[in-house]
Assembly symmetry: none
Homo-oligomer: 191 residues x 4
DNA sequence: AATGAATGAGGCTTCATTCAT
DNA sequence: AATGAATGAAGCCTCATTCAT
């Protein structure tokens, strides 16, 4: 059973990392927000990088769990993809801070960035599998499932962030619906 | 006519900012790479933030110029959008460092991030205009042109970065072709 | 009970600030002189300005305490003023470094200078009160107690510094005696 | 005939040095204020210190000239001292910036401070001579003319600065009158 | 005589990490 | 398990001075 303190630290880390980005995030701020002494973080985590990676793993796992639920809800490949896209959009809307980190902290050659990218790859890989299955069943027309999955992932992420940072209040249902439709159908009118 | 030195500084800044991210980028490194003394940068730019913003404006302008050329090449809305997507994909492939910054440095509330976001908005706005025109002509079926544009932008960016960071050599023509097709047509087979 | 380290830092700061002036004083030197790491100063004080202000407050408080003792020693206004002048002169002789700062760092519009000036005002105000009481009792003939107090303050300070910087050894008793006499009696022979 | 440019530089230097203090004064600001290029200052002066010393010499000379005029106006020692005190007070009021420098930049062991102090010593010496003459004539009762002169000098300077920095508008005539009276007579009522 | 772009040494400050308690 | 005072390497920026023109 993970100590309550660790949970508090992770929660604080999520808030601070997302608000400031990895580099500007201060261990002092995380400690203060978590209500623990700075040394306590170092007692439970190796350092800033380790804390970051633990946090990422934690959040990605939660998203993966959602996707597993969504997967069980539909057997049709198209429906399954719709479910994943929708779950992703809703997750990013609910965890906007994480959405920022997803785009901001995954590129580069620092160890933590490589670790993060591996997680993103897992996520894109999960999308890719659905696309590949659908393609084999003739439900999707894509050349490279990998690139298609990455593109979908990017479409959802940037659409969400673009809406969130627009300044106006976000109509979530409407936004999710459009993202899902467009992601699956494209923008050309169906014949 | 901008001095040669300023051009050298901007070039060095592009390399270093993209390689390390804004925070980890060192003014010392930029100066060394540019072959100028540290103080010289400060003679021409207010500071790190100003240098960053100047760089961004410079690169965005170059992309916009490409888009303007691409726009003149096609009058059909669908073709025009294809041209823009293609130009964007090629530009990001040719300026991978900028592609990273595009996703990594545009979110947050620092002044430079707001400035960057304003530029991204310009770019997405340019896409949006094409989509809107096409939608009015019945060529596109989208609900919100703004969201659609953001999604396309994200799809291209992440697809490119995903491919670039995959470790394997990138077949650019193939990648661009798929990105363009999928961005415009979606992934469902046409009826 | 203020940590020993803080006291050591304040002591070192007093020496370095007085020796070099605020601007030329180096935090490195203060740290070295205090026998602490540079970061330690910043753990206890916000920065150079804050350290300076804390130091000033500390020294002014010590002078005020001396004056309070001196005040209890005499009930006659003339005697009380003599005591204050004497205490001031002795204090400045014993804290020559502070005497320099008193004249050198109190004028200007930097925040720290305004803070310093407020302290100087306190000191002059304390003198002024004695003068005003004495004037009401008919013991002093002054027009503006405020200006009179400032003048006395300046007379003592500059006389002390002038003697200290003259290069010759200072006969403290003789100097104090003359300063006190002249401050209270003026330079015209008594009728 | 000193070039007009040199005069403009000195004037600008006076303003900037007084406003910011020697250390914070920037050669750039002086150049801009003087309406010349930065290099021009270095063409006419060795450097910042040299510029400062030239400025000081210039101002002190002007004060000395005033004193010489004042001296010719009165043969009685008491009157002559009154004249000097009054001239000093008026001069400092009219050159408040210089008054600040007088107290702020004359103490310390930098070369320019020693030079400045030598000038201050000249001024105090001029006062001292009047006092000494008066004392020999029995007009003044002082032990050490040197200390008495320094005290008078400090009294006038601090009284003026105290009034100037008080924030309220200064009634110059009233202020000068009180300073002169008190400086010469002291604060005890005459028997 | 005058210019102003370029320089680079030097200083303040930040903050991840350590360790004695 | 937890603390928080202390550390010191590292980085941004300033500004007096130089020098080619």
């Amino acid at each position: 059973m993970r100590s309550d303190r660790i949970a508090r630290i992770l929660e604080a880390a999520a808030a601070v990392f997302a608000e400031c980005g990895f580099e500007r995030a201060k261990m002092d701020d995380i400690a203060e927000r978590a209500g623990v002494a700075k040394g306590t973080i170092y007692y439970h985590f190796q350092g800033k990088d380790d804390l970051f990676c633990a946090l990422i793993a934690d959040v990605v796992q939660r998203l993966m769990d959602r996707w597993d639920e969504a997967a069980r809800a539909a057997s049709d490949p198209v429906e399954r993809l719709r479910h994943r896209i929708e779950a992703l959009a809703r997750f990013l809307l609910a965890n906007r801070r994480f959405a920022v980190m997803l785009l901001a902290e995954a590129w580069g050659n620092e160890t933590r960035q490589q670790v993060f990218r591996a997680h993103v790859r897992e996520l894109i890989g999960a999308l890719e599998r659905v696309i590949r299955e659908g393609a084999e069943a003739g439900a999707f027309a894509v050349r490279e499932a990998d690139t298609a999955a990455a593109a979908l992932f990017g479409a959802v992420s940037v659409a969400v962030l673009h809406a969130v940072f627009a300044g106006e209040p976000v109509d979530e249902e409407r936004l999710v619906a459009q993202i899902v439709d467009q992601a699956v159908q494209g923008i050309l009118p169906r014949g």
